[in-house]
């Protein structure tokens, strides 16, 4: 029970963080039809910017400054990069974002070096919020959840209740028509791209100190975010939300299980002889398979339901 509750809370906070990343990616994908390979690099920039501005102004101003900075870089990327590349087609756009991911990584190497930086959880949030049975639950994780839920609610309100949100929604499916009605769709694209990057940046601010802030963080998180978007369905926010929580839980729960497949099968009444040729393969524990499970889920999803849980696009 204790394991279950704590792991559930951790799954939730991790899943919400994944959604902060995947929501921006999926919005950008729906609108422009291009998968932004550099999306996780903006997440990394968020973490480094928070570390840097945090040293000067402290954590709280950094929480706002870093995502804004990342958003501005996102806007510039769209306006002077992607928009120019757009007329050469989706492959060119894809390659552009792919290259950008490497450029950002090298820039991070140059400025902050190859070793992890000392970006820490702020003192004001570094305490135990409550103790559940024997496990202490850190306040920072609760704070992360709070910010994520706040962001989720604001994103929902902006998209459904404001005029710009309606323009964004309409542009997701009919950009030409929206533009023919006199709305500046290229500018809306830029705003969505910037907004998506700012969300990724915010995720970086929150995740960077909980996990680790180092130049490899973009690639390790990036692949998981792609799994989320594929499983959830390309271009579906609801799908991305469900998939984020699903992948978050799968990863968090499986890490906690120290049972091997042999134990599992014994539980089901199947005893595997230690001389069996299957023994070595089945003796690995579930926690050992944790890193591969999301990818396995993605492959299964692509075989069974290629458009994902809630996806509308075939590509």
């Amino acid at each position: 029970m204790e394991f279950f509750l704590i792991t559930l809370l951790n799954s939730l906070s991790y899943g919400l963080l994944l959604f902060m990343l995947s929501s921006g990616l999926t919005l950008i994908f729906s609108m422009m039809g291009v998968l932004n390979f550099a999306h996780a690099s903006f997440y990394m920039l968020g973490a480094y910017f928070a570390y840097q501005t945090g040293m000067v102004f402290g954590f709280w101003p950094a929480l706002f400054l870093a995502p804004i900075l990342v958003g501005v870089i996102g806007a510039i990327t769209e306006r002077y990069g992607l928009r120019k590349v757009h007329k050469f087609g989706h492959v060119a756009e894809l390659l552009f974002t792919f290259g950008l991911a490497y450029v950002i990584e090298e820039v991070v190497h140059l400025i902050w070096g190859r070793a992890p930086v000392d970006y820490r959880i702020p003192e004001s949030l570094n305490f135990t919020l409550f103790t559940l049975f024997n496990t202490q639950y850190p306040a920072y994780r609760a704070f992360m959840m709070l910010v994520s839920v706040g962001m989720l609610v604001s994103l929902y309100l902006v998209l459904t209740k404001t005029r710009i949100g309606l323009i964004v929604q309409a542009s997701l499916t009919h950009p030409e028509m929206v533009q023919a009605l006199g709305h500046n769709v290229p500018r809306v694209f830029m705003l969505v791209f910037a907004g998506g990057c700012a969300l990724a940046g915010l995720a970086g601010v929150l995740g960077g100190n909980l996990f680790i802030t180092e130049p490899g963080m973009a690639f390790s998180v990036g692949s998981i975010v792609f799994v989320v978007v594929v499983v959830g369905g390309m271009g579906s926010l609801v799908g991305a939300f469900i998939a984020s929580l699903l992948i978050g839980s799968i990863q968090t729960f499986s890490v906690g299980f120290d049972l091997s497949f042999i134990d599992l099968m014994a539980g089901l009444g199947v005893i595997i002889d230690s001389n069996s040729s299957w023994y070595a393969g089945l003796s690995i524990t579930i926690s050992q398979t944790a890193p591969v499970l999301p990818y396995l889920l993605m492959v299964l999803m692509l075989i069974v339901r290629p458009r994902g849980l809630m996806g509308t696009r075939e590509t």
Partner: protein, 235 residues
């Protein structure tokens, strides 16, 4: 004669290597209803899309004494050109009212059309105000698309195949509405395949064939010219 509102001269456009518009010339005067007729694939829709800035083209397009060359589609819309595309393009997940309100431009000050006007013209829309637009029937969607464009207060509205696939009764309603729009001083460029309503409500008609204008004249002139109708219109 009233002044010329839209003048298109020597309009050329290509889809890949195929030369789809081969020097189209046409004009529309203030308050006029003009029809652009022709069979499928002769370039009528492409002409309208080129005017709207959605298709790359060469040639000169002048609207209210301003050149539209090099402008983006939203800038052209803001000059006072409205476009109702053939495939209707409603925003299916948004409600009927949200669709209508997106017809308003961001800093629009005045309009000869109010939201209430739209409901007077099409009471069906008022009944379905909060329904997602995607569940409307084809005819209702067509009305919604037209009303949405009118909300933006265009001086000239280009309507592509509005009656396609609609029941005769709704086609009649459409014709009445076009005359009402025209009464309020809005010019109409109507792209049609069928002669029925075009002959009745237009002041002038153009017939297109193979990317060129092959006939220009009044409804009675077109009715008199059997060879044009045989060669370019009848199936």
């Amino acid at each position: 004669m009233t002044e010329i509102m839209l003048r298109v001269s020597d309009l050329n456009a290509y889809y890949g290597k195929s030369h789809v518009l081969q020097g189209v010339d046409l004009h529309i005067r203030s308050g006029e209803i003009v029809s652009l007729l022709g069979r499928n694939g002769v370039g009528r829709s492409t002409t309208v899309k080129a005017i709207m800035g959605q298709v790359e083209h060469t040639g000169e397009i002048n609207f209210q004494n301003q050149s539209l060359s090099g402008l983006q589609s939203h800038e052209i819309a803001r000059k006072g050109l409205g476009y109702v595309p053939e495939n209707r393009d409603i925003f299916p997940t948004l409600t009927v009212r949200q669709n209508l309100l997106l017809g308003l431009k961001s800093d629009q000050k005045e309009s000869r059309w109010s939201e209430e006007d739209m409901y007077d013209l099409f009471p069906r829309l008022k009944e379905r105000l909060h329904a997602p637009a995607g569940v409307l029937s084809g005819g209702e969607q067509q009305m919604l698309t037209l009303c949405r464009t009118l909300m933006g207060n265009p001086e000239l509205v280009m309507i592509d195949e509005p009656t396609e696939g609609l029941a005769p009764k709704i086609v009649e309603q459409m014709a009445t509405l076009f005359e009402e729009i025209s009464k309020r001083g809005v010019s109409i460029l109507l792209v049609e395949q069928k002669l029925t309503i075009a002959l009745r409500i237009s002041q002038r008609l153009y017939v297109m064939g193979h990317g060129q204008i092959v006939f220009e004249g009044s409804p009675s002139e077109l009715q008199a010219d059997e060879s044009i109708r045989k060669e370019w219109l009848e199936v």
